[in-house]
Amino acid sequence: MEVKEVVSILNAKVICGKQYLDKSVDFGFASDLMSDVLTLDADNILLITGLSNLQTIRTLEMSDICVVILARDKKASKGMIELAIESDLLIIETEKSMFKTAGLLFEAGLKSVY
């Protein structure tokens, strides 16, 4: 599924990385626990999280995950956006809950990791 489809399904706001909207993702993973995210082996993962801090972006960078959805109206800080741009990452914000975000994307065909 292309990231731009994700954005339209959620009617979400792209904070940075608009030039990567053509990228495609196969799996979704929802967690506030970066410890868990770091253990994932799959490729082309999209992360849904309620944790919005610098380590969220560092975790994406190290895990080769190129897109994160900050759910439930969590906002990306200036520092997070700078780091994300440096590593070519997409940050998307939505007011929807993690549950609803995950549900809508699962319904649209995004696979679960486990």
């Binding site: 626990l33 410890s35 868990d36 801090n53 610098l54 380590q55 560092r58 190290m62 895990s63």
Partner: protein, 149 residues
């Protein structure tokens, strides 16, 4: 063929969560310029980042040393810190002494050390109480062209 080794060294400070991951990020960028397979780079930087978070969370400071050879990438993380009382227990999935501050940052699930081991071809950890912890990791480089992974 003559073994050419590139050595890198980074210092990390404990306690500063804002900077955690900076060294891993710099190292990732260096490895990407050296024609190392992305899957190998991912293993190395995941383990490094876990180690960096542990230093920030539990130790005072640390030195990271990387040696990139033709066949292997070796990583050493040596910290000054309280050390680990029972390494077998610390390696268990789910064992954690993380503070609430660390948990609020998205860590403290007790997965880090076992994940470092999972992402290493060779993994060794030793620790002395009131001195510190030393972790040595070796990962083999795989050929970009005839990929067998």
């Amino acid at each position: 063929m003559v073994e050419e080794t590139i050595s890198l060294q980074y210092k990390i400070d404990g306690g500063d969560f804002k900077k955690a991951g900076y060294a891993s990020s710099q190292i990732k960028k260096r490895l990407q310029k050296l024609n190392i397979h992305p899957k190998v780079i991912k293993k190395i930087v995941i383990a490094l980042y876990e180690a960096e978070i542990n230093v920030v969370a539990y130790a005072y400071d640390a030195v990271i040393r990387i040696e990139i050879g033709n066949e292997t990438v070796k990583v050493k993380i040596k910290d000054n810190g309280p050390g680990i009382q029972d390494i077998n227990q610390a390696m268990e999935k789910g064992y954690s002494t993380a503070s609430s501050k660390i948990r609020e940052m998205g860590f403290g699930a007790g997965m880090g050390l076992s994940n470092m081991k999972k992402n290493s071809d060779k993994f060794d950890i030793k620790s002395k109480i009131n001195e510190g912890t030393e972790i040595n990791i070796i990962n083999y480089r795989i050929n970009i062209k005839n990929e067998n992974n």
